[in-house]
């Protein structure tokens, strides 16, 4: 009698949720919101179906660059507590599969955005994916402590792409929406790096905290917050801004500056003593900061107050 043995060991088969996690859905929510604002505040406007498609494919493009980032960064993601549970370091999605999904979705999102709206918007999306996956992930992230500053540009493009999807061009207002996210990114991430310290150290990512020390990082947070503050105020005075945007910009930036000054005046002993309370509060506030500014632009638009100045 012949004995038949069945090898019951399977390679892990990913669920659909693993694929969704590959696209960084939390980052995508910010992309969707800012791209939506870019579309809604632009002059003229899109048919609702075109606007929906534009947001969908901008978000898909952002997801694609997230998948490419997870493919390339699987080695350092595995070391960091914050990222160790991503699908590739966990072994739920094979690296090659993440790469294939990233490339396929990049192509689909760029071509479909071009067909749904215009080639300029599609080109901007393609450049954003290239910028995040190649310039930031493959080059800057492991090479320079300014990685966050320049890499932040990738996250700043969605409202500009949304605007371009409607108008086919770039304007002062769309450039200022870009600048708002671009200048906001460094203080946001450096505050995170201050209280998630061991993570970046262990992974050997040249975060400012590792290369230049914590006091220098605190000074950088203050400097970038000072440079950030005029941007939303200027935005409030353009064709897309209004009194609500101006009020939000003044109030939130005063609050943000106050937090940055507090961070600058503290040292590690004080921070350790209260468990990085100020840094954590600053980081949490920075999340609301961006949503509030883009939300204010929408309110001004809805109330017909945009372009008041």
């Amino acid at each position: 009698m012949t004995e038949i043995s069945v090898n019951a060991t399977h390679e892990y088969e990913p669920t659909f949720g693993d694929y969704v996690a590959l696209l960084k859905p939390r980052v995508m929510s910010l992309v969707v919101f800012t791209a939506l604002v870019g579309i809604l505040v632009a002059p003229s406007g899109l048919h609702p179906v075109e606007a929906f498609a534009a947001i969908l494919f901008i978000a898909l493009g952002a997801g694609a660059s997230g998948a490419l980032n997870m493919w390339y960064d699987a080695d350092i993601d595995a070391v960091m507590r914050r990222t160790a549970k991503r699908p590739v370091p966990l072994g739920r999605v094979a690296p090659g599969e993440a790469l294939a999904i990233g490339i396929a979705l990049s192509g689909i999102s760029v071509v479909m955005l071009g067909l749904a709206t215009n080639l300029f918007a599609a080109g901007l999306l393609a450049f954003t994916i290239f910028f995040y996956a190649v310039i930031y992930t493959m080059w800057l992230k492991r090479w320079t402590p300014q990685n966050i500053v320049i890499g932040g540009a990738a996250g700043a493009f969605p409202p500009m792409i949304g605007w371009a999807a409607v108008t086919g061009d770039v304007s002062v207002a769309s450039a200022l929406m870009f600048a708002l996210i671009f200048m906001w990114t460094p203080p946001h991430f450096w505050a995170l790096a201050l209280f998630m310290k061991s993570d970046y150290d262990d992974a050997g990512v040249p975060m400012l905290t590792v290369t230049h020390g914590r006091p220098s990082t605190r000074r950088h947070i203050l400097a970038y917050t000072v440079l950030l503050a005029p941007v939303p105020v200027w935005l409030a005075l353009t064709s897309v801004g209004g009194p609500v945007t101006l009020a939000v910009a003044v109030a939130l930036n005063l609050w943000f500056l106050k937090g940055a000054v507090q961070i600058w005046r503290r040292d590690e002993v004080m921070a350790e003593a209260d468990g990085y309370k100020v840094e954590k509060a600053f980081f949490r506030f920075s999340l609301y900061y961006l949503f509030a500014h883009f939300g204010a632009l929408l309110i001004d638009q809805a109330l017909g107050l945009a372009g008041w100045a």
């Binding site: 088969e13 990913p14 669920t15 659909f16 949720g17 694929y19 969704v20």
Partner: protein
């Protein structure tokens, strides 16, 4: 005893296949919606009776 117990891997496979199917159907719906919007905007008429005789076309041809 169940003769063919469902292995956990089958549940995962089903989740993936179902998710991909729904996503593809969604993509078809978006492309269809975009097509309708763009054809209507360019002045084209959307007719849903392509396989019946349309006298207006024969009249134009004549």
């Amino acid at each position: 005893m169940e003769l063919k117990p469902t292995h956990e891997v089958h549940a995962r496979r089903f989740s993936r296949n179902f998710g991909v199917a729904v996503t593809l159907l969604g993509l078809v719906a978006v492309v269809f919606g975009l097509t309708v919007v763009k054809v209507k905007r360019s002045g084209g008429e959307m007719q849903a009776f392509d396989h019946v005789v349309r006298p207006e076309l024969t009249e134009v041809a004549q």
